[in-house]
Structure formats: C-alpha cells, structure tokens
C-alpha cells in the first residue's frame, strides 16, 4: 500500500533522483581523471624544471622563417614568429579555398556532363584523389618539384618571364607603382557597390518582379573600376622580370617549392570532395523543377539563376563549408614538407623552448577558432535559408 504513494518510492528507484546521482558520479569520475592528469603533469614539470606560461612570447626566436607576409628575422620574438606562421596558414588556406571552389565546381559539373568522355574522366579523378592520403600527395608534389626541375641556372622557361626551377617558380609581375594601391581600393569599392546593388535588385524583384542584370553589372563594375583607375594613372606598363643573380632569382615574384607543393596538394585533394558535394547538390533539385520553369517560358539562364541554383545551394553550402574547414585543417600537414605554417612554427618553438603544453594548446586554439567561427556562420546561414514551411 505504501508503495503506491508518490512520496514513498525509494530514492534509488526515482528516475529524477537517479539521473542526478548518475550525473554526479560522471562528474566526479571525469573530475578525478582530470585532477590525476593535471597533478601528474605539475609534478613532472617541476621535476624537469620547466616554467609554464607564455612569457617565452617576448624572447628572441633565433630561427629563420623561409617566407613571411610581415617583416621577420631571427632577432624577432617568438610571438611574432607565431603570427607569421598563422598568416602563412591563412595565406595558403585562402588561396587554396578560392582555387578549390573553382576547380571543384568545374569537376562536379563535368561529372554530370552528357559528354561520356568528360564525365568518365572526372569520375576517375574524383575516385583516385579521394583514395590517396593527402600527406602522400604532398610528398609526391614536393618530390616532383625538387627532383624533376633543374637548378636555377638551367631553369626552364616555357613562356617569357616564367621560370621553373627546384628553388621555386619565379614569374613576372607589374613593377610596383602607386596606382596599385588605388586599384585595390577601387576593387573594394566596386565589391561593396555590387553587394548593395544586389540587395536592392533582390528587393525590387520581390516587389515588382522586374529583374536587374546584376551579374553583368557586377562584372562591369568589379573589372571596370580598377581599370579606370589604372588608366587614370597613365596606364603604367612597366614589368618586374625575374633575373638570375648568383644562385637564385631576384625580382618578380617567387613562390617556394614548399608553398606550391602544399597548395597543389590541398587543391587537388579537396577539389575531388567539393566536386562530389556540387554533384549531389545539383542532382538534389528534382527534374520537375526544371520542367516547370521551362513550361512557364523561362529561358535557360534565368532557369539556372532563379530556380535551380537557389535550391541546389541550400544543399551544397553546408557540406561545402565543412570541406573548406577540412582544407584549412589539412594545411597543418605543411609541417611535413617544411612550409612554415602555424603548426610548423609552433613545433620549432616547442623544440627550442620546451614549452610543449603551451605550443600544442596554441595550435588547438587557433584551429578551434577557425572551426567555431565556421560553425557559427553555418548556423546563421542555415537559419537564413531554412525552408519556411506552411
């Protein structure tokens, strides 16, 4: 009789109380484990007399870094060296992402092409590249570079102004001129204008149904504005051609073999995955959508822009973002071929200072920032494009 009364259930049979007890047990266990590891670490650190903390940031690094976006020398501090590494990671990821998107989209469309040859080749490429570890691909491209290409003295020059040698690729760039700064500014202004016009055009289309040729307008502005700036400065045509001085090229722009190998490896590997994402996205739009659009008299370009793409992008964007994140994470393999990315610089720092915990924590923190901001963007995007169901 007593057992049927609500208050008299023994506390170990009450699901709510049991859940609380279980959670306390889990917390205690995890806490004990963490405590055990930390206390061991503290004892070990004391024994090896390693001082923890980030005070090594201000010490002189005394190692050289092959390539850097900001001024750096062996006399700079460890903090600056790490910033150089982070910038190098960003550089290779940024350039890699842009080219990967282009190549991956082309491959994805080629995979769906009605041309048998093209579609077969694309699918072979996708399958092969996905099945070979990225690290192996990096080693392979790096080896190709320094084994196949000659020394700078006998550099190959397939077209004038471009030199291939085992020290890297040197190519001609326009000589520095004050106009370039303003052209960059014009490009930025152009992009902002296009963005605003696009928003306005979308609103107008929703209200009146009239379509503004945003794409053509955008291309005209983005290319046109810098071009006008360039002409306004008297169209400077002077070129900076690389020349062989001593054992290496001077002038022009030189890309190191490490940079090219990591870039090539990341692009060719990730593009295969992007191609699959693009293919799945396009295939996810049902045939009926295209047929319906055709039957109301839309022409091919508006069909793609107004019907197919908005629906395909909803499917494509989330996995695409995670591929971009993968590319960024894989850029950490640069350490294996000696491109000075963040992991590589942090590794050198660990070896020199012995601050292993801080070093690994920094690596993890940097990549966590990347991935958390990416997933924040994803959440925002998903909310924005989520289907409004009636």
């Amino acid at each position: 009789m007593e057992n049927t009364l609500p208050g008299s259930v023994p506390f170990w049979l009450d699901p709510k109380k049991r859940a609380i007890m279980f959670q306390i047990a889990v917390f205690v266990m995890v806490g004990l484990l963490v405590y055990y590891l930390i206390s061991n670490t503290i004892i070990n650190l004391k024994k090896q007399s390693i001082a923890t903390g980030f005070s090594f940031f201000h010490k002189e690094s005394s190692f050289e870094i092959g390539e850097s976006l900001i001024s750096y020398s062996a006399a700079s501090s460890y903090g600056r060296a790490l910033v150089v590494g982070a910038l190098n990671t960003l550089k290779v990821s940024f350039i890699g992402i842009i080219i990967t998107l282009l190549l991956g989209t082309i491959l994805g469309i080629a995979r769906l092409s009605s041309n048998w040859l093209v579609s077969k080749l694309a699918s072979i490429y996708i399958e092969v590249m996905q099945d070979i570890p990225i690290l192996l691909q990096l080693f392979f491209w790096y080896a190709i570079f320094y084994e196949t290409f000659p020394s700078p003295r006998q550099a190959l020059s397939p077209i004038t102004g471009l030199f291939l040698c085992n020290r890297g690729v040197a190519f001609t760039v326009p000589a520095a001129h004050p106009a370039h700064k303003y052209m960059l500014l014009a490009l930025f202004v152009g992009s902002v204008v296009v963005y605003l016009v696009r928003r306005w055009a979308k609103k107008r289309q929703e209200k009146t149904g009239e379509i503004f040729p945003v794409f053509r307008f955008g291309i005209a502005i983005v290319i046109g504005l810098p071009l006008i700036t360039w002409l306004a400065f008297g169209a400077p045509m002077k070129m900076d051609i690389p020349k062989l001085v001593g054992f290496n090229f001077k002038g022009g722009m030189t890309l190191s073999p490490e940079f090219i190998a990591i870039l090539l490896g990341l692009i060719l590997y990730t593009a295969a995955f992007v191609a699959e994402v693009v293919r799945a996205g396009i295939q996810s739009v049902s045939k009926g959508q295209r047929e319906a659009a055709m039957s109301i008299g839309l022409r091919p370009a508006p069909i793609l822009n107004l019907v197919i793409l908005p629906q395909a992008l909803r499917v494509i964007i989330p996995p695409l973002t995670s591929q971009m994140l993968n590319l960024t994470k894989n850029s950490s393999l640069a350490v294996a071929i000696g491109y000075p990315d963040f992991v590589s610089v942090a590794n050198t720092t660990i070896n020199q200072t012995g601050q292993s915990i801080e070093g690994v924590a920094l690596i993890m923190a940097l990549y966590l920032i990347f991935s958390l901001s990416t997933s924040a963007f994803m959440n925002w995007y998903n909310k924005r494009v989520a289907l409004v169901e009636r």
Binding site: L136, E147, S332, Y367
Partner: protein, 366 residues
C-alpha cells in the same frame, strides 16, 4: 540506307547505322551539340599528349630489376626500387627471419575482412572469430609465447603498423563513439554537455595536433616511472580522434529513429539500457553503416600522419629507402607504389560501402 529499305518489306525497319552501334553511341554521348564536340576533341587531344609519354615512361623505357646505379642513365621509370626494397618497405625493421609472422597476420586480417563482407555471415560466431583473430595477430606480432621469439614494438613498421593503427583504432573507437553519441542525445544535461564539449573540441582540431600531444605531452600526464610506448600513444590519439567522428555519425542514426520506437519500447516496460540495446541501437547503427565505412576509409588514410611523429609506418619506411644514396631521386616511383597500395585499400572499402548501401536500401523497401 536504301538497301535497308528494300529488305524491310516484311521485317521491322532497322535503325540507321548512325544512330546505333559505335557511331550512334559516339554521336549521342560525345558529339551531341557543338559544345560537346569541341570538348571531346580538346579532351582527346590532351589525352593524346599525356597518355603515350606516360605509358612510355612507365612501361616501355622502364627497368624492373636493376641496381640503383643502372637506373641513373635511363629515361623511363626505375621500378627496381620497389622489388629491391620491398621487404623493408612492407615490414620495416621487423627481424628479417621473422617476417613471415606479420605476413601471416596480414593474411589473417584480409581473410577475416573478406569473410565478413557477406552480410549473411554477420552472426555471433563471426564476432568470436574476430576476437580470436585479433588476439592471434597481436601474438604473431609480439611473440613471446609458443616458442615465438619476442619482437619489441619499436621494431614494428611498414604496412602491418599502418593496418594495426587503423584496425585497432576503429575497433576501440567504435564503442567509445557510440557511448559519446548516446551521451550527447541524453536528457541529462551534465552528461550531455561533457559529451558535446568532447566531440566539438576534438572535431575542431587537426589530427596532427592530437598526435603532437600524444608524442610530447602525454608522457607528462603519467606518474613517474610509467612509460607507454610511442605506438600505443599514437594509437590512443587516433582512437580519441576517430571516436568523435563516429559519435557524430551515430548521432545521425539516433536522430533518424522515430519517436514511436522509443515510446513502443517504453510501453513494453523496457528500461533505458534495454531500450537502447534491443530496440534503438540495432536499427540506428544499421542506418549509419555506409557513413561509418567512410570514416573507416579516412581513418585508414589518416594513419599516414604518424610519419610526422616519426613512427615507422608505410610512408616512413618508403622515405627511409629514398634517403639511401643508391635510391635517392626515385621518389615518383616509390610514392606511386604506396599510392597504389592505399588506393586499393580505400577503393575496395568505398566500393563495398556502395554495394552495402544498395543492399540496405533494398531491404528497407521490402
């Protein structure tokens, strides 16, 4: 054409030669429209430029059984690097006379994998066979029992190490991943947040940072006097990493279960443990077999990263052959060889996954 018309007074009209057979096929698949025609011609031209020289390099001008010196003068590929150093690339520093043991272990593994391919074999005995098999493989590698000479794990290397890291990595990561996924779906806030924190933390960082951690920080975690060998530490890092990815895949499966399943189990009076073991997990894990296989594939590829913390896996043994002065400069041949090994492994797995996906989706419709 005209002849065909004459003949067809009694028979059905045959389609014109241009729309059937090779010509018809080519017309429909390669030359439909001006754009595709140009594309085909350009592609064929590029293939013509690339394939014959590559073929010449790989097969006609190549040598297969020479010394490194004899390779220096030739234009083609020097495949001699592979047969000459085959045993070192595959087995690393495993004692030369004992190399039949890892070979046997690998055959055992392939045999088990091959047998497990068929879904009709997925019964309890297979599970026991795997346990016995894995134990035997460990015994063959380690030795020390039944008159086998003990071999220190520092001498393990090459392909067996790569397989060991991926197979044991996945077997240990799988249960951990399932527990994490259940924890993440749990109604208990505290448990849920611990699991979410773990999964998101690990998924947010590259594997290489965990491997660094295992190589340099992990020894600091342990009390003095206790050391764990390098391979096991790397293995732990791979397990922790793979588990978080498996957890996300399994969570997908759990979310795919309808509420009715939980309610039905509850109304039968099953408790949480019984509900999960008997009703939810068998169905949820079945749905996620294909994505689990793709995780297996990436885990297999990712084991190559241990080369960065200087374990002697397949990649490292190859690189060490390449640093031998006799074979320096033949990286292309050596890397192509191990690329083929990796490709065969991954391709057969992804093929299998596709086959399984088809079978499973056919089962759903019945």
């Amino acid at each position: 054409m005209e002849e065909a018309i004459k003949m067809t007074e009694t028979e059905a009209l045959k389609p014109p030669v241009t729309s059937v057979g090779v010509i018809g096929w080519a017309k429909n698949n390669l030359f439909n429209g001006w754009f595709n025609s140009i594309l085909t011609i350009v592609t064929l031209y590029l293939l013509w430029k690339i394939i014959p020289p590559l073929f010449q390099w790989a097969f006609i001008d190549s040598v297969w059984h020479t010394t490194g010196k004899a390779c220096r003068g030739i234009d083609g590929a020097c495949w001699s690097i592979i047969p000459t150093n085959m045993r070192f690339i595959i087995f690393g520093f495993f004692p030369y006379e004992q190399q039949w043991r890892p070979l046997l272990a690998m055959f055992l593994l392939f045999g088990l994998l091959f047998y497990s391919r068929d879904r009709n074999h997925w019964k309890k005995p297979l599970g026991y066979a795997w346990i016995v098999g894995l134990f035997t493989m460990g015994l063959l590698m380690k030795g020390g029992l039944f008159g086998l000479i003990p071999v220190e794990s520092t001498q393990w290397g090459g392909l067996p190490l790569t397989l060991l890291l991926s197979v044991f990595g996945l077997t240990a990561a799988y249960p951990l991943g399932v527990i994490l996924a259940l924890g993440r779906q749990s109604k208990m806030r505290g448990v849920k947040w611990i699991c979410v924190l773990y999964i998101e933390l690990i998924r947010g960082v590259p594997l290489i940072s965990l491997l660094f951690m295992s190589a340099i920080i992990f020894p600091l975690f342990l009390p003095e006097g206790i050391t764990i060998n390098k391979i096991l530490r790397a293995q732990v890092a791979i397990i922790l990493f793979t588990a978080s990815y498996i957890a996300e895949v399994v969570r997908g499966g759990l979310q795919g279960m309808s509420r009715g399943q939980y309610e039905a189990a509850e109304s039968m009076g099953l408790n949480y443990y019984q509900t999960m073991r008997l009703v939810i997990l068998p169905q949820a894990l079945k749905i996620v077999i294909p994505p689990t296989v793709s995780i297996l594939i990436s885990a297999f590829k990712d084991t190559s990263l241990v080369v960065i913390i200087a374990l002697w896996d397949l990649m490292k043994t190859t690189q060490s052959v390449l640093s031998d002065p006799e074979w320096m400069g033949f990286s292309r041949e050596a890397y192509i060889f191990i690329a083929i090994l990796y490709f065969l492994g991954c391709f057969s797995m992804s093929n299998y996954s596709r086959k399984l996906e088809k079978e499973l989706s056919a089962g759903e419709q019945q």
